[in-house]
Each structure stands twice: as structure tokens, then as C-alpha cells.
């Protein structure tokens, strides 16, 4: 983030010479940004602050009156089983999805970067899921898990496949994980591919002469060279998967029970339909703090690794 900003030395900046006063040029620059700032503050910052404000009240979202309750919502939050379950589900889901997506994407990207037939054609195919609407992809897979997979399971006599996994409290998350991985790999493959193309090929030739095998080449050359791409992908995918929503709406609606209710879905359902406006606002604040913490933590750890390698 903001990597380019510390080097702000515009040596030939024209405003330097006539820094004396507010020039016409300065006015123009302010006029360019002020409307945008106002709109951003109105529709982004203000509602975010409002969310924090409501988290200290007992408002249900509809009634005309509400009271301040201090940290009561936050205290209830930590005692609420549904909330706790949604955090456990969301975080374990996001961690698994992040690992799976990154491992698969990197493997496919290496394959696509190898000397293969029709590379551009396959690159186009692997990216295709990224242009498809997440919700609709969820509906398509919903049918697959409900109707196709059980039939296949019956024919092949594989017992655990004969039931619809989306209807199982224990395994519904697997279905959602598969859809998310199927779709999210597209974007990550393309990024890794871009990263792999920055690795100079003579490095491989040199290490090949030294007798390094493919496995060693990957860990000693490829992986360190694409470390920045690894960082970006890990941080972005983790953040996206922590916000998982569309797929769950399309596939399980959060069920069975609340076994696949993600934090976003819980905030949506509880806040709009469950009369828990204030309570879910508190939930959203905690959620926000956690996401920020995770992103910064990841950036720190991964960037440190980049330097070490």
C-alpha cells in the first residue's frame, strides 16, 4: 500500500517557483477534489462512523427512539453462540480457501508458463470464471451438488456422495469452499503468471547447469522471485474470503442450521431482518478491526519473508 508515496520528490514541479500565494492553479486543484471528498465523506466515512455510533445503542433499526447502552452489545457479542460460530466458520473457511487457492493457482500458473501448446488459449479459459457473476455461479453449483453429484455417487457406489452435501450440517462448507476455489483461482492464476514472467529465464539455465532439479529451482529461484506476488495474492484473497457472501446466499442461505453463516451474512440477516441493527453494528465494528488486524499482520509477516529470501 502506498509504496510510491514516500518518494515524493517532484524536482521539476512547477508550483515550486510560484509558491508565494494561492494561485489560480491551486484553486483549480482544490475545485477538482473537494466535491469528491464531500461525496466520499457523506457516503463512506459518515455511514461507517454511524455504524460505530449505533453499536453503542439499542436501536432495532425501525423504532423512533433508542437509548445508549455503552458496551452492552459488545459484551453480548462475546457471549453469543451464533456470532461465535460465524467467526469460527468464516475464519477457518477463509484460511482454507486462501491456502487452497494460492497453491492451486501457483501450480496452474507454472504449468501455463511452461512450454505448452496453445498457451494463450488456455490462459483465456482459466481466466473465464473471473468474468462470471459470483451469485449465478453459486446457483449453478448448487444444482450440481443437489442433483448431479448424488447421482454420480449412487452410480459409483460411493456412499458419502449419495446425499446432497449442501444439506449436511457437517459438510456444507466443503461445497462452498469448492465453488469459491473454482472461481477465485482465475484471478490468482493470472497474477502469478504475470509474476512468473518477471523471472529471467537465464537464471533457470544457470541453475540447470549447476545440476539443480525442478523442485530445487522452484524453491531457490521461482518462489523467492515472485514473493511480492505471493504477498499480494495472500492478502487480497484472505480479505475477500473473509467477506464471503454471494456464494453462501446462492448455495445454502447460511444453513443448514447456521452452520455456513458467514459474518457478512449474519450482519445482513440480523441487521435487516432480525431487528438487531445495533447489535450487528457492534459485530461489524469487531469484524472491521479483525480484518484490518489480519491484513496488516499478513503484510508485515510476508514482507519480512520477502526480504529474508
Amino acid at each position: 500500500m502506498g509504496k510510491s508515496s514516500p518518494t515524493l520528490t517532484p524536482p521539476v514541479d512547477s508550483s515550486k517557483k510560484r509558491k508565494q500565494k494561492f494561485t489560480k492553479r491551486d484553486w483549480a486543484f482544490y475545485a477538482m477534489v473537494i466535491p469528491a471528498v464531500l461525496l466520499f465523506a457523506t457516503f463512506h466515512t459518515f455511514p461507517a462512523l454511524q455504524g460505530i455510533y449505533y453499536s453503542f445503542t439499542n436501536w432495532n433499526g425501525i423504532s423512533l427512539e433508542y437509548d445508549f447502552v455503552g458496551f452492552k452489545n459488545y459484551i453480548h457479542l462475546f457471549k453469543d453462540k451464533v456470532v461465535k460460530d460465524s467467526y469460527i466458520f468464516t475464519f477457518s473457511f477463509a484460511i482454507m480457501a486462501t491456502i487452497l487457492v494460492n497453491v492451486i493457482s501457483l501450480a496452474v500458473a507454472i504449468g501455463l508458463n511452461a512450454k505448452i501448446k496453445g498457451r494463450n488459449f488456455f490462459r483465456a479459459i482459466y481466466f473465464l470464471p473471473n468474468v462470471l457473476g459470483v451469485l449465478i455461479v453459486g446457483f449453478i453449483f448448487n444444482f450440481f451438488f443437489t442433483n448431479i453429484l448424488p447421482t454420480i455417487g449412487e452410480r459409483l457406489d460411493i456412499d458419502f456422495l449419495t446425499v446432497n452435501i449442501l444439506g449436511s450440517e457437517k459438510y456444507a462448507w466443503v461445497g462452498i469452499l469448492l465453488v469459491v476455489v473454482w472461481q477465485a483461482c482465475a484471478f490468482n492464476i493470472i497474477l502469478y503468471l504475470a509474476g512468473l514472467q518477471t523471472v529471467p529465464s537465464d537464471l533457470y539455465e544457470a541453475s540447470g547447469l549447476d545440476g539443480a532439479n525442478h523442485w530445487q529451482q522452484f524453491w531457490k529461484i521461482t518462489f523467492p522471485m515472485i514473493a511480492p506476488f505471493f504477498t499480494i495474492n495472500m492478502v487480497l484473497s484472505m480479505k475477500n474470503f473473509l467477506m464471503v457472501f454471494d456464494q453462501i446466499v446462492a448455495m445454502t442461505g447460511g444453513g443448514p442450521g447456521h452452520s455456513t453463516t458467514s459474518i457478512s451474512l449474519l450482519i445482513y440477516k440480523g441487521g435487516f431482518q432480525g431487528g438487531e441493527f445495533a447489535f450487528q453494528s457492534a459485530n461489524a465494528v469487531i469484524y472491521f478491526l479483525l480484518i484490518m488486524f489480519v491484513s496488516i499482520f499478513q503484510l508485515k509477516i510476508l514482507q519480512k519473508r520477502e526480504v529474508d529470501m
Binding site: 469528491a36 454511524q50 505448452i116 457472501f245 457478512s264
Partner: protein, 272 residues
């Protein structure tokens, strides 16, 4: 040194691409059958193409109305985003040595870390109070929310454009606005393409924001219509899949036409 084709890898890549294509094949196969044929086998290649599923889906979901809504919202978002966000980024990029503008830069970019759910509940109250719970409001929100990432990308790009070009234009008598529109904006075309693609994909496929903002079903976008009609589709899967495919088709067509651009654009947008 010419390397030989790596066949084992090629075969693995082909197998992998079958996993990508399978759900799409399944969708076509279901959308082109009638219920009896579907009951026999969902995956067998359809013997007769039942195109009437598509005409039925068009009528049942009022497809063209939703298509119009999606196209209007995406198109307007695209144009307004490119025109406004690049202008703001220009002002920020050229004044990064001033505290105010540097602060603004971090103000916009830090919003990338704020998850939408914290805004979700209040913004619904706010838009309905302001009478913005309609496509116009939705477009406004897309343009405003897009600023966080777009300003980040634009500023990085604009700072790589030499200021000398602008100075020449100033000497020729252009004011700051003219400098932007005549000198800078044309130079931004590659990055405009990137931002445009990312914005289109986002606005077209987004589900959550239309779901909470739009309150008149006549304004529903394509993804929203699929959601709303889910219960009405019931077990008429042929109808449902025809409808899904039609909702996905426009972006796929755009992708097939502008494939190279889109992949390149997405990479540029994220690597910046």
C-alpha cells in the same frame, strides 16, 4: 535454443481446463433440454435443442428490462468513474508534496481496508432518507466507493507522467482544467482501460449493493433478478439455467472480444 513442447504439462493443463468448462457445459446441457430429457440425464449432450427455454425465461423474468437496468447502471458507472476518478487522482498526484493532498491520498486509499458490512446497515437508512434507493443512487455509490482503489491505481500512473508536458501546455495558455483534459487525460488511456474493465466487472456482477439499495423490483439488475426469481423457478431447472446463461452471456461476450485487454488490465490494476 528452441525448447520442445512439454506434453505432460500440456495434458495436465487440458485436464484442468475441463474442470473450468464442466459447469458451463452442464449449464448449456440443462438449458437446452426439456424436463423429461433432464430427468433422464442432466449431462448427456442434448439431442434436440429446446431454444424455447430461453424465450420462456425472457418472458418469465422480464429479461430485457433487467438487461436494460444492468447496462444502464454499468455504463453510467463506467463513464462517471473514469471521468471523475481520474480528475481527482490528477489533482492528488500533482500535489503530493502538500499535506492536504497527501492526507487525501491516504484517506481514500485507507478505505480499502474498511469492510463493507460496517457501512451496509447505515447506508441503507441514508440512501432511503435521501431518496437515493434507485439506480441513480446505486451509480453514485459505485462511483464513490470505487475511488479507494481507483485513486490508488491512477495516482501511481499519473506520477510516472513527466510534468514538462503540462508546463508546455501552460505556457501555451491552457488553464489547469484544460491541461488535464487535453494533455493528461489522453495519456491515461491504458490505465483508463484497466479501471474501466475492473469497474465493469464489479458493477455488472455485484449482488449485495443492488440487493440492499434498490427497493423497486422494476429496477432490479440481472444478478438480483436471478435471486428474486429463484423461488419462482422452483424445479423448472431448464428455465432457470436458460435465465442464468442469459445473465452471464453479456460479460462473456465482452470477454471474448476484449480478452487480451481484460487479462492485461486486471494484472496492471493489481500489480501497480
Amino acid at each position: 535454443m528452441k525448447q520442445r513442447t512439454n506434453w505432460p504439462v500440456t495434458i495436465l493443463i487440458i485436464l484442468g481446463s475441463l474442470i473450468i468448462l464442466f459447469p458451463l457445459y452442464m449449464s448449456f446441457s440443462i438449458a437446452l433440454k426439456n424436463p423429461q430429457e433432464l430427468a433422464k440425464s442432466a449431462l448427456a449432450f442434448p439431442t434436440v435443442f429446446r431454444w424455447e427455454n430461453f424465450t420462456r425465461a425472457i418472458e418469465a423474468t422480464n429479461f430485457f428490462n433487467a438487461l436494460k437496468n444492468s447496462a444502464l447502471i454499468t455504463g453510467a458507472t463506467l463513464i462517471l468513474t473514469i471521468l471523475s476518478n481520474s480528475l481527482v487522482a490528477y489533482a492528488v498526484a500533482r500535489n503530493m508534496h502538500k499535506k492536504f493532498f497527501k492526507g487525501l491520498y491516504f484517506y481514500f486509499v485507507s478505505a480499502l481496508f474498511i469492510p463493507f458490512p460496517i457501512i451496509m446497515l447505515p447506508i441503507v437508512k441514508q440512501t432511503s432518507a435521501l431518496g437515493l434507493n434507485n439506480p441513480g443512487g446505486l451509480i453514485l455509490l459505485y462511483v464513490v466507493y470505487g475511488m479507494a482503489i481507483n485513486i490508488f491505481i491512477y495516482v501511481g500512473y499519473i506520477r510516472s507522467i513527466p510534468v514538462e508536458l503540462e508546463e508546455a501546455a501552460i505556457i501555451d495558455g491552457c488553464n489547469t482544467w484544460q491541461v488535464f483534459w487535453k494533455v493528461i487525460f489522453p495519456l491515461l488511456m491504458p490505465i483508463n482501460a484497466t479501471i474501466g474493465i475492473l469497474t465493469c466487472l464489479w458493477a455488472w456482477n455485484d449482488f449485495l449493493l443492488p440487493l440492499i439499495i434498490l427497493n423497486d423490483s422494476a429496477h432490479a439488475t440481472l444478478p438480483l433478478v436471478q435471486y428474486v426469481f429463484q423461488s419462482e423457478f422452483g424445479t423448472d431447472y431448464n428455465l432457470a439455467f436458460a435465465s442464468y446463461l442469459m445473465a452471464l452471456a453479456p460479460m462473456v461476450v465482452v470477454y471474448l472480444i476484449a480478452q487480451k485487454w481484460i487479462i492485461g488490465g486486471v494484472v496492471k490494476g493489481s500489480v501497480k
